[in-house]
């Protein structure tokens, strides 16, 4: 089990960041999004390969109106 944007998500063992995005219906090619895992930025380049341990906390963000 991992946490994506605060919600617990059941996944098969050790999904990649890319897997998580796809599962949520987010095209990993989408411009303007970024990902943090356990309070560290995960550069776009590692999304296909970087696997997520159980309990990992994933934040997927994008730009919204503000400021």
């Amino acid at each position: 089990m991992i946490y994506v944007n605060g919600e617990p998500v059941d996944t098969r063992a050790q999904p990649t960041i890319r897997d998580v995005l796809v599962e949520r219906g987010i095209d990993p090619a989408t411009a303007g999004i970024a990902v943090a895992v356990d309070a560290e930025v995960a550069r776009r380049g590692v999304w296909p390969t970087r696997t997520l341990e159980d309990g990992a906390r994933v934040e997927i963000v994008r730009a919204v109106q503000g400021g």
Binding site: R24, A34, A63, G66, G67
Partner: protein, 269 residues
């Protein structure tokens, strides 16, 4: 076509430069508070801004991606902020995510100390600013009107300082012009008035006091007619700049006649 370039041409001030980049507009626009994307689009055009702020939030399924499209179709640059962060750590992480997402190392740094006033937390702000500068960011910190804090932020390498006039969204204008003047006198980087502007005259006054630019969000986005207010504040910023460079008359306690005191006819009884 607008008179702004041509009237800017009339001013003695060189164009605004931040971190080596030149801007012909001195109005930054916050994208928060617009109820329709179309209105935001028209307000960007009306304001003639070249730099608009965005916030970073969790993506959701219902994510229409149009915000960045609107901004980029207008050919203006995006300035991500760290609004909502209460600690240096969260603000730094948010800035890093914004850089990753938007491909810009510019950030409008906000570290808030209080939800009711949304005023900055001075020590956390300074820590975050220093770290982000070390990481190569171009840091534009939203700060209080404290002249010493503004100076510290410049000392750690911020590219500009963004003091408030009054609390965010309060529309109270410039609560303490004396402090703003002290900041401007001491600043070696651009001073951008951030927060508090309620209407056009507030923006003109900010520039007259010596600010290099003004950022408006609620004043425009929450006006009854945001596009008209965008035009208004664009003209106000220009008016303030022209007036400051024109050299205003001094304030006098008593009157000074604007008609000749001599040559009055005398009408005998």
């Amino acid at each position: 076509m607008s008179t702004q370039p041509q009237d800017n041409g009339r001013t003695a001030s060189p164009p605004l430069q931040i971190a080596g980049r030149t801007f012909s507009s001195r109005l930054l626009l916050g994208t928060g508070g617009f109820t329709r994307m179309q209105t935001l689009d028209a307000a960007i055009e009306a304001s003639e801004t070249e730099l608009v702020t965005v916030a970073m939030r969790r993506i959701d399924a219902s994510a229409e991606g149009s915000l960045l499209d609107v901004i980029r179709n207008r050919g203006v640059d995006v300035l991500p902020n760290t609004a909502g962060c209460f600690t240096a750590r969260d603000a730094v992480l948010t800035a890093q995510l914004a850089r990753e997402a938007l491909g810009t190392d510019w950030v409008k740094l906000e570290v808030i100390g209080d939800e009711r006033t949304l005023l900055p937390d001075a020590p956390e702000l300074l820590v975050a600013a220093e770290q982000l500068v070390d990481e190569g960011f171009v840091v534009l910190p939203y700060t209080s009107d404290d002249p010493v804090l503004a100076r510290r932020l410049e000392d750690v390498g911020c590219a500009a300082v963004m003091p408030l006039g009054s609390p965010i969204g309060s529309g109270q204008g410039i609560a303490n012009p004396a402090n703003l003047t002290l900041i401007v006198e001491a600043a070696g980087v651009p001073v951008i008035l951030d927060a508090g502007v309620g209407t056009a005259s507030d923006a003109a006054l900010a520039i007259e006091l010596g600010c290099d630019a003004v950022l408006c969000a609620s004043a425009i986005s929450r006006a009854t007619d945001p596009v008209a207010m965008a035009h208004a504040i664009r003209h106000a910023v220009l008016a303030g700049l022209l007036a400051r460079d024109a050299g205003r008359i001094p304030r006098r306690t008593h009157a000074r006649a604007s008609s000749p005191l001599v040559g009055m006819p005398e009408f005998a009884e």
